[in-house]
Symmetry: C2
Subunit: 230 residues, 2 copies
Amino acid sequence: MDLLWVLILVLLSLSRYNMAMADSNSVSHSGNALNLESVRDSLIRQEDTIVFSLIERARYPVNSRLYNQTLGLVPGFSRSLVHFIVKETEAIQAKAGRYENPEENPFFPNGLPPSVVPTHKYPQALSRRIHYGKYVAEVKFREAPQDYEPLIRAKDRDALMNLLTFKNVEEMVKKRVAKKATVFGQEVTLGNNSSGNYKIDPLIVSHLYAEWVMPLTKLVEVEYLLRRLD
Amino acid sequence: MDLLWVLILVLLSLSRYNMAMADSNSVSHSGNALNLESVRDSLIRQEDTIVFSLIERARYPVNSRLYNQTLGLVPGFSRSLVHFIVKETEAIQAKAGRYENPEENPFFPNGLPPSVVPTHKYPQALSRRIHYGKYVAEVKFREAPQDYEPLIRAKDRDALMNLLTFKNVEEMVKKRVAKKATVFGQEVTLGNNSSGNYKIDPLIVSHLYAEWVMPLTKLVEVEYLLRRLD
């Protein structure tokens, strides 16, 4: 697999994590019930989205020119073509008001045009601070502030990372996404006999979670927590 | 279901049908083997994409303001917000060269900016005409030109539509997409017991194919055939 597209995918998947609010299981729709279970339900549902996206992406070959900054494919633009497409698409979505929602985070926030559509009032039963924050980190902090506060004050990133790491949960996530890749990636026919062909290697999905999605998610959580007491 | 978003979805799904070329089962990658089987394999794979998209869309509530032309949400733009987003997104993709590919069709072709990236040479083992055309219609025509030619010359749309309609195939497609909605829409857990919850009603997917995707696909095929002898 091409590392760069994996990175883009992971970034997109993290973005989808942040869109949990719009999910029917979402935290903000459930009122004040900001607890780890509702956040987890939402993240588990996001796994389906990520596995669907990986299966869809696996249909196409790698196109490394798309990610190459040195080719100068877009005149007057010094970055890669994929950078151009994502940045310009975000500019349109900014005009359409996407980033007025405090849970929507652009990859390239610099120089985005303002929204041109009427402002939507987002329900904020919870504080604006939490909307800007990262749910999982916030929930974990609230459950055990006495464990987190000294580490935050000491700016001890490694200890925070350890505190955020639950090996058994991570093993379960790895197994579940592999199973999802197997179920969603099977060839469905009207007969009873499965072809045994799969659209994506479940192990690759599992590794992607273990090596990229979960570590990057925790990195974001650590960064959030370091600012939690400011 | 909100009719307008169904229509958008169907339009998107038809667009995905047209992207069959980029598929690993694609017609153009298989060289000269333009036959109904290879086209069907590709369309069957596209069903997965459509079912994935429907499952993803079903997570969110209807937002009818998005499709309302009379609200004037975008200053200086007389159409709906979704029209604005799709049109502007297509403009960026046009700049990035998407529509240089003869199989990529924008929804709003008027006033698109030219591509700014270097021209890519598309492999055209088959004639450019076929690339512009609609595979299924072209394949059916080639298999029985003696049946189609008189109807095309008579511009008999109804008879062409009948000739293109295979009731048993359509019934099979309806059953298969319903099964796909069941398989891909299930809640996957690590235990053996399924929750019995599904993310989308398989009957809705089946109806969507029967009432929208297949009739609109055939409409496009008829229009293609009417120009086939020009």
